[in-house]
Amino acid sequence: MYATNYHRASSVADAVKLQSSSDEAKYVSGGMTLIPTMKQRLAAPSDLVDLRHVAELKGISVDGNRVRIGAGTTHYEVSTSAELKAVCPAICHLASHIGDPHVRHMGTIGGSIANNDPAADYPSAMLALGATIVTDRREISAGDFFTGLFETALEDGEIVTAVTFEAPAKAGYSKFPNPASRYAMAGVFVAKGADGSVRVAVTGAGSDGVFRHEGMERALAANWSPEAVAGVSVDAGGLLSDIHGSAEYRANLVKVMAKRAVAAA
């Protein structure tokens, strides 16, 4: 790891100030991607601004159907939240399968979505739940937030502070983890909103990151069942192809994961 300067932020305002005092500063939340990346010298921020001790970024609140998860909430906290389980068990299930227990104790929802790894789990949930990403300066719909591989709508120095969404009537998540890395080779989050609208979001498979599949959304809106997905064709164009699996293989995985997600919902 190259040398870096560590700063611990006490509030969001403090973090923004610390970040802006250097050209090459990065925020670190749980650090479960950033620290390993720095160890490989693939990232070399001159300064690290630690958000883990910022109280205003923590916590889960459920008010009727309105869910708010603070960006600093760990995967472990999401996976074990009784409040969340009562209104959206699918997101608890998703969080309980990220990485391993040690990673889940550190990694946070804000860190995961701000990083937007194409194989990360949370972006699919945000997209399918029609979530709003709240930052220190504005609110961004999930559809506008994820803009490509490791790319988001975040501006320099902008901090994700929370995510909010309406609890869905039904939702499910299923992923096929790479047998070695355990990252999703295809993960599908399906959600049926209280108004009946259906969203299907796919992670791990797209060559441009997380995306929605409108064909499956139409099929599920007409008939919410695994069989409805079976008749939809998933185009291999635009899907990742690598040593772990061809685009055609992933296209099939997307369909199978979608069926399982609906069955689990």
């Binding site: 790891m1 670190v28 720095m38 040690h102 990673v103 550190m106």
Partner: protein, 163 residues
């Protein structure tokens, strides 16, 4: 360089170190607590697992500076005096190790999952919770057996204490 202070195995410690120093190197090189191992150095193998404020974490993927002010428990802090911790004793009784390199991380992970699940721990849950710990010798069977035996014993001890 900055002064990093934390509590390790109940003892307050403070050392000068570079901001890029990893927690595992702080423990091994600065405090000479070499029970915590570096296996893969890429956050996969779990040989470096310690508890930070009561939760199992990978000390190779956390800066010492991030851990400043926290309570750290390492494998050296488990045994009470000359008596092995029940999880350590169960690993010994069940042959839960061969070369022993992964064992400190396995034991710390086991203690963490027993703390979280207690007597509800079953084989499937143990295997799921070993996702972040790699052992190249045992094939895991005896590790799983050891953890289940320890969970049962700790549950029984807890029940006795409560009565």
């Amino acid at each position: 360089m900055a002064k990093v202070a934390m509590t390790v195995n109940g003892r307050k410690v403070s050392r000068e170190c570079e901001d890029r120093t990893l927690l595992v190197h702080f423990l091994r090189d600065q405090l000479a607590l070499t029970g915590t191992h570096v296996g893969c150095d890429t956050s996969q193998c779990g040989a470096c697992v310690v508890h930070m404020d009561g939760k199992a974490v990978k000390s190779c993927s956390i800066l010492a500076a991030q851990a400043a002010g926290s309570e750290i428990l390492t494998i050296e802090g488990l045994a009470a005096g000359g008596d092995l911790h029940p999880v350590q004793a169960a690993f010994k009784a069940n042959h839960g190790l061969q070369c022993g390199f992964c064992t400190p991380g396995m034991v710390m992970t086991a203690v963490d999952m027993i703390n979280r699940y207690g007597a509800k721990l079953d084989e499937k849950t143990v295997r799921e919770n070993l996702e972040g710990n790699i052992c190249r010798c045992t094939g895991y069977h005896n590790i799983v057996k050891a953890i289940l035996a320890a969970a049962e014993e700790m549950g029984a001890a807890g029940r006795q204490a409560a009565e």
